[in-house]
């Protein structure tokens, strides 16, 4: 019996060159800019993010609100600003995301770390009952939200990849929300936590 090859199909240099010449001739008449392609990737990543979030929903559970937020220094990163912890700031800079995307459902909170071109990084899915501590602070243009969470759905709650940062940041999430409806989002979370 013939074995199925596990290798990728091989294309000779001549074939590849032919393809490249054909592509170059076609491209002359087309103006698909890099920006357009990147926009397409962002759109697809956002769609994928939404589908992933919807995949987390159970029967009779709906997404009630969604927002995008940025990383905040509230509480935990503030602990590290002294000179003693200066070396950690670099680790934190490389490890933490700049942005989060948050979905608030009728039963739980779904948070995705967002990287370049909106790709999903680490994910956190936890119920409102798993939030052990919630704090907020209002500013003129944004609201700072801070959650301390006991566990997430998959028991893989790691808000930091670096073990040096782990004791400071794990199970804590701080987000700055700039959305126009940030007040409504805050009220929604308060109402959910108040009803527990």
């Amino acid at each position: 019996m013939n074995e199925i090859s596990n290798e990728y199909e091989i294309f000779s240099d001549d074939t590849v060159e032919e393809f490249e010449q054909l592509g170059a001739a076609y491209k002359k008449n087309e103006k698909n800019s890099k920006a357009k392609t990147k926009q397409y990737i962002i759109k697809r990543n956002l769609k994928k993010m939404k589908e992933t979030a919807q995949g987390e929903l159970q029967e009779e559970e709906y997404i009630e609100a969604e927002c995008e937020g940025s990383l905040t220094a509230l509480n935990y990163l503030g602990n590290m600003t002294s000179a003693d912890y200066a070396f950690m700031m670099l680790a934190a800079y490389n490890d933490f995301p700049v942005k989060y995307h948050v979905y608030l459902t009728t039963k739980k909170v779904i948070i995705y770390e967002i990287g370049s071109l909106k790709h999903i990084g680490r994910q956190y899915v936890f119920e409102y009952t798993d939030i052990s501590h919630f704090k907020f602070k209002k500013y003129k243009d944004y609201i700072k939200l801070f959650f301390k969470v006991e566990k997430d759905k998959y028991n893989q709650f790691r808000t930091a990849g670096n073990w040096l940062l782990y004791p400071f940041v794990n199970r804590r999430i701080g987000i700055n929300i700039f959305n126009d409806d940030r007040e409504l989002i805050l009220k929604f979370i308060q109402r959910k936590l108040g009803s527990i």
């Binding site: 596990n6 290798e7 990728y8 199909e9 091989i10 294309f11 590849v16 032919e18 393809f19 490249e20 010449q21 054909l22 592509g23 170059a24 076609y26 491209k27 087309e30 698909n32 890099k34 357009k36 392609t37 990147k38 397409y40 990737i41 697809r44 994928k48 589908e51 919807q54 929903l57 709906y62 997404i63 009630e64 609100a65 969604e66 990287g115 370049s116 071109l117 790709h119």
Partner: protein, 181 residues
């Protein structure tokens, strides 16, 4: 260059996309065009190109250097994606017939299949629960906006989106995956 591109893509850095397009856009266009120029319109080729780049970006972790070169892996992705698009183009009824050499007109057989699918879809929509059926009809037959539907049903727009998405999933299951968006 190739290693640098792979490394940047694995780290999910946008610069990887820039380098990928600088280095391989001719090749990507070339493969798509050589396979699909009879069936695909220019906008399909453009969309297919974007989709290929997205696939390389999101599936880069599946690339295994032991199984072959990055270039060969990439051509396989382009070929599969182009076949998908050719199939999609054949399935889609077109408003206008392509001016050049491609034959996109529906045959009688295609028209019959399309009609049968349409009636199967109608039946499937009726199988949804009443609220979902209403939402689906308003959204896709009456072409109301999600905001209007949410006001009519006193729901949040998000809840309407979720219901639409779930209904689509159910319909796909019931009709056997004929309708792919």
């Amino acid at each position: 260059m190739e290693e640098q591109i792979i490394d940047l893509l694995q780290k999910k850095q946008a610069k990887g996309i820039d380098l990928l397009m600088d280095r391989y856009s001719n090749l990507i266009y070339g493969v798509i065009y050589s396979m699909g120029h009879h069936q695909m319109k220019h906008e399909d080729i453009e969309e297919c190109y974007n989709d290929v780049i997205f696939n390389i970006w999101s599936k880069i972790d599946q690339y295994d250097s032991k199984r072959g070169t990055f270039r060969n892996w990439m051509i396989s992705i382009i070929k599969f994606k182009t076949i998908d698009y050719i199939r999609k183009c054949k399935k889609l009824p077109r408003d206008t017939v392509e001016e050049n050499d491609s034959v996109l007109g529906q045959s009688l057989e295609d028209a019959v299949i399309c009609k049968e699918n349409h009636s199967a879809l109608k039946k499937a929509i009726q199988k949804l629960n009443k609220v979902d059926e209403k939402i689906f009809t308003w959204r896709y037959l009456d072409e109301l906006s999600v905001e209007e539907i949410s006001t009519r049903l006193n729901m949040t727009p998000q809840a309407v989106y979720t219901r639409i998405s779930r209904s689509k999933g159910k319909l796909r299951k019931w009709i056997g995956g004929i309708y792919n968006e």
